[in-house]
């Protein structure tokens, strides 16, 4: 019983950390990206459409690992793989 609660509690903490650190990294990355885009657009307004396309491309790359982390975090929330082996040892022992 306690082992289950411990594993679930730890999983919740892990999910929180994944979400939090992912969001932190992404926010800083997007801030820098957007700032540079605005600087470039202010210097050469005629390049704005091209810069905007490139900005979206880099934005998706910045987002990628955070999104992968979110995918894993949601997987841990709804189909926790760590409870399976725990249940097996509990049933067997």
């Amino acid at each position: 019983m306690e082992a289950f609660a411990t594993v679930q509690g730890m999983t919740v903490l892990a999910v929180g950390i994944i979400f939090g650190l992912g969001a932190l990294g992404t926010a800083i990355g997007f801030g820098i990206l957007g700032g540079r885009f605005l600087e470039g657009a202010a210097r050469q307004p005629e390049l704005t459409p091209m810069l905007q396309t490139k900005m979206f491309i880099v934005a998706a790359l910045v987002d990628a690992v955070a999104m992968i982390g979110i995918g894993f975090a949601l997987f841990f929330t709804f189909a926790n793989p760590f409870l399976g082996p725990l249940a097996q040892t509990a049933a067997g022992g």
């Binding site: 987002d63 990628a64 999104m67 949601l74 709804f78």
Partner: protein, 289 residues
């Protein structure tokens, strides 16, 4: 009695609702983390349906296209998209290939249609399927890791194929063993091979994995938020008896609208990114010095 049982079965808990919506329609449960005998019928059905929809409608537009005269209606829409893909491919791909532009068009339109299925109300298609006796239905193929990995592994195979075709097997191998540490002395070259292999294989393998998981993560998270918003009115309009019920209904409509509008950007962007990265990786596979 039957009404009571029916009412009791009608009210799932939040966890049950979400788990029900996250379950695929499969032939049997997977025995372990890798089980290649499992088929997700709903992903297959919607992938094929959307492919037929896209390819069929574009083919019809091309057949009925008139070279002279002003295009109108669906034909001008198709021309708009083809133009967009053409511009994007020309920007990044400077070699000759008959495959790259149709591939880019297919990837963009197919992934966009996959993602677009996420904008339909969460309960709509599963309810319709329930009337036909189908218990679970997931209508967004790109929330299935198998679908996204299928596409990215196909792109990966194409990258390897074109690398070997353009650079030869020797050139392909030397790309991994002679870079980034180069040397003139053959003995030093052999000694540097392990370091080069590690430094080259990791980004090389990271490409298909990140390509697929990026799409999957974005769409899965989007679908999850739609499900969580749907939880606000879990018991339907019966919650309208209390203030909490009214807040739930109002919140559901507003939050659902806001998230759906933001999601329109995400689905287009993810389809575009998948296409652009495919073009860039294939361009890198084609270049040889």
């Amino acid at each position: 009695m039957a009404a009571l049982e029916h009412a009791a079965e009608e009210a799932p808990t939040a966890g049950e609702y979400i788990l029900h919506h996250l379950t695929f329609l499969k032939n049997h449960e997977p025995k372990g983390i890798v089980d290649f005998s499992v088929v997700h019928w709903d992903s297959v059905f919607f992938s094929v349906l959307l492919a037929v929809l896209f390819a069929g409608s574009f083919w019809l537009a091309a057949r009925k296209a008139s070279a002279t005269g002003v295009p109108k209606g669906f034909q001008s829409f198709v021309e708009l998209i083809i133009d967009f893909i053409d511009t994007t491919v020309k920007e990044s791909f400077t070699h000759h290939s008959k495959v790259i532009a149709p591939l880019a068009l297919t990837i963009f339109m197919w992934v966009f249609l996959f993602n677009f299925m996420d904008l339909l109300p969460v309960d709509l298609l599963p309810k319709v399927a329930h009337w036909f006796g189908v218990e679970h239905l997931k209508s967004v193929p790109s929330t299935d890791v198998n679908v996204t990995f299928g596409m990215s592994l196909t792109v990966f195979i194409l990258i390897i194929f074109y690398s070997i075709k353009m650079k030869g097997l020797g050139g392909f191998v030397s790309e991994f063993t002679m870079q980034p540490f180069a040397a003139k002395n053959p003995v030093v070259k052999v000694l540097l091979i392990p370091a080069n292999l590690v430094l080259e294989i990791v980004p090389f393998l990271a490409r298909p994995i990140s390509l697929s998981l990026r799409l999957f993560g974005n769409l899965f998270a989007g679908e999850m938020i739609f499900l969580l918003i749907a939880l606000l009115t879990l018991n339907g309009l019966s919650g309208l008896t209390g203030v909490g019920g009214w807040i739930g209904v109002f919140g559901h409509i507003v939050l659902g609208l806001v998230w759906a509008i933001f999601h329109i950007l995400v689905i287009t962007l993810q389809a575009f990114i998948f296409m652009v990265l495919t073009i860039i990786y294939l361009a890198m596979a084609h270049e040889h010095h």
